[in-house]
């Protein structure tokens, strides 16, 4: 039975790959330059989605906390980063404050909210939706509805020559490299450090870990803070690529949800795969079928939910 299932999914993957190869072959003969540019755009937007979703998947996968304020944390990071960068004149200071500020908010969220409703997913979902609505209104109150735009340092602003397509934005390449490093760093943290060992142990058997003298609450609060800090960080990074406006919170919450649903909850590699699929399909959609492009994302999501409800690389 299992072998049969594997065979089916192998065939499905092959069909999908063949379809993509046909499309790529057509697109390359049609206009190679456009295809490569759009693919690069897809990968950079995927890098941004990965950065946002990785905090979400960390918090859900390891702590089993459904944190629907994730988009608000992203937007809060962007606003904090903008304000601080504007006052201090330094983009890097903005990045630092956006990251740590939101990390602290995340820590407080875990201590004040989630600790009191461990393992009650419906309650968590409802409470965090409420918090995200409140946060959205507070941010509208504080920063108004103006369009903000963070400027990365000048050396990142321009374009650089790369093969085939000629000029490409340095900042986008930076995002690509940066989110790969964040992904690697997180993997190392979870798999190679003492904190990582404690986090994983706490997920498997909370009582045992606590019996061994580890303060489980501190470990969980720290993990939550790290996940939130990455959301704040991606807010500053994303706010320097595109504008910061009210409504971005739900946009990125939705993006993270779609990415982790496709990739599989709690898996770093799955999140990366999901982000790449969504990023590429979105950009191909915009370039080759702008009117109907939005549908592709949801077709992918629906297909994954039907074929593998736990996500492409999720554990059953």
């Amino acid at each position: 039975m299992k072998i049969h299932k594997r065979k089916v999914s192998a065939i499905v993957y092959l069909i999908v790959l063949a379809l993509f190869a046909t499309f790529a072959a057509w697109a390359i003969t049609d206009n190679k330059n456009l295809f490569v540019t759009v693919s690069m755009n897809g990968l950079t937007i995927a890098a941004l989605y990965f950065l946002v979703a990785i905090g979400f998947t960390l918090i859900f996968g390891l702590l089993k906390n459904v944190n629907l304020t994730h988009g608000s944390l992203y937007l809060l990071g962007a606003y904090l980063g903008y304000t601080v960068a504007d006052l201090s004149g330094s983009w890097l200071v903005g990045v630092a404050v956006g990251t740590f500020g939101v990390g602290i908010v995340g820590f407080l969220l875990q201590v004040l909210v989630f600790r009191h409703m461990q393992n009650q997913e419906l309650q968590q979902a409802l409470v965090t939706i409420a918090i995200s609505v409140i946060l959205a209104d507070l941010m509208l109150w504080g920063w108004g509805s103006d369009i903000y735009q963070l400027d990365p340092p000048d050396w990142m602003y321009g374009a650089v020559a790369i093969p085939v397509i000629g000029k490409y934005s340095i900042y986008k390449l930076f995002i690509l490299g940066f989110s790969i490093s964040v992904g690697l760093g997180l993997w190392l943290l979870l798999n190679k450090t003492y904190l990582g060992v404690m986090i994983r142990a706490g997920v498997d058997d909370q009582q045992m870990l606590s019996a061994m003298g580890v303060n489980v609450h501190v470990v969980f609060a720290l993990t939550f803070a790290i996940g939130a800090a990455i959301a704040g960080l991606s807010g500053v990074i994303g706010g320097s690529l595109m504008s910061i406006t009210p409504g971005e919170d739900t946009r990125y919450l939705l993006a993270s949800l779609v990415v982790v649903i496709v990739g599989g909850m709690g898996s770093i590699i799955g999140t990366a795969l999901g982000a790449i699929l969504i990023g590429l399909s979105e950009q191909y959609g915009l370039a080759y079928a702008p009117t109907y492009g939005v549908i592709f994302t949801f077709i992918i999501m629906a297909a994954v939910l039907i074929a593998r409800p736990q996500g492409l690389l999720g554990r059953e």
């Binding site: 000029k167 409504g247 009117t291």
Partner: protein
Amino acid sequence: MKITKFRRVLTVVSTLTIAGFSFSAQAEDEIKVGLLATLEGPFTVLGQDAIRGAELALMEWKGMAGGKKIVFVKGSSNAQPDSAVNATRKLVEQDKVDLMIGPLSGSEGVAVKNYSRTQPQITFINGSSGGQETTLVDPSPNFFRFNLDGAQVMAPLGSYAYDKGFKRTMIIAEDYSFPYSQVQGFMSGFCKAGGKVPKKAWVPVGNKDFSSVIASIPEDVDSILVVLAGADAVNFMRQYEQAGGDKPFIAGSVMVDQTVLSYKGKRRDALIGTLSSGWTADKLDTPEWNKFVAEYRKSFDDAFPAPSFFAFAYYSNVKAMLEALDQVNGDLSDGQAKFRNALQNLQLQTPVGLITLDENRHAVGPAFITEIIKNDEGDLVSEVVQTVPKIDQKLNLSAAEFDAMGIGSRESPSCP
């Protein structure tokens, strides 16, 4: 036990009823007006300016019309039709408003117009939505619009741009009814003059990443017609600059609005000289318009250098309502029949000129071809290069000619 509970409920209910009665008694000499604008989502900045416009008109009337106090009850939508209908429904069915002003955005207008059919006792006056369909296809007897639609104001621009030397243009526009209308208005004149539009990209509202659309701009076009609003427009310009693009823009009416022109970025100066066409212009320089701008600036601390189209449209529509209320002495009896009759026959003097209604209760009035200049203070503003005093919803074409084209859509009109 049960009885006490029952009595408690009874007390609460009766208190509420009494409160309700005293409230409606108070409401005798006031008229509640639902005011719907996009105070959330991608068009939030525009919605806020729309509210300023509505409040400006009411201030001019000192809060009273037809001997009654006018009270705004605000509602918010996010530019999506369903959210506009939900907000309107809440205002009409829960807040029990007497009149409605709104909505702001094109597809919202179509949806609210359809909803207005189910509430024949209430008069709906548009806010700033400019979709053609709203009053052209299956118009609703209690929906009135005192601003021109998106196609009307762009209609003069096509042939003007062609004469200025633009022959092949690509279209990048948001994917809903208002940009369809804007593009149709432009293309009706542009194609007729001999211009070509080889490619149209309809992007979803709220899309922030235009890099792949920009990459797909063909080499052989000499200009880009951009119909985007608010944050989307700003993102597009910034990314076009980053991608090293250098083709001139022809702009949709909301693209050269102060909501976009006030944006601080490096691409700003590249907008100087951009042609557009719209309901008004920052430097219209007539006494009526200057007075309107002065009042707007005086009344709001956090306002734009000049009122946006949305402030102007909400102002005009609210002004129409207030004038009609004055004419009928606030008489909304008999299914608001007298009031509606007054609206229908109104000769509305707006800051840009005279606006009257056609048989579909839609505005006939002036449009202005504009060009972006930089003023002495360094602000980008639009200046009038040509005025078209009167343009109707069929774009001043004959009925046969207009019907052959149909209303604007993704595919229509077409001249590749």
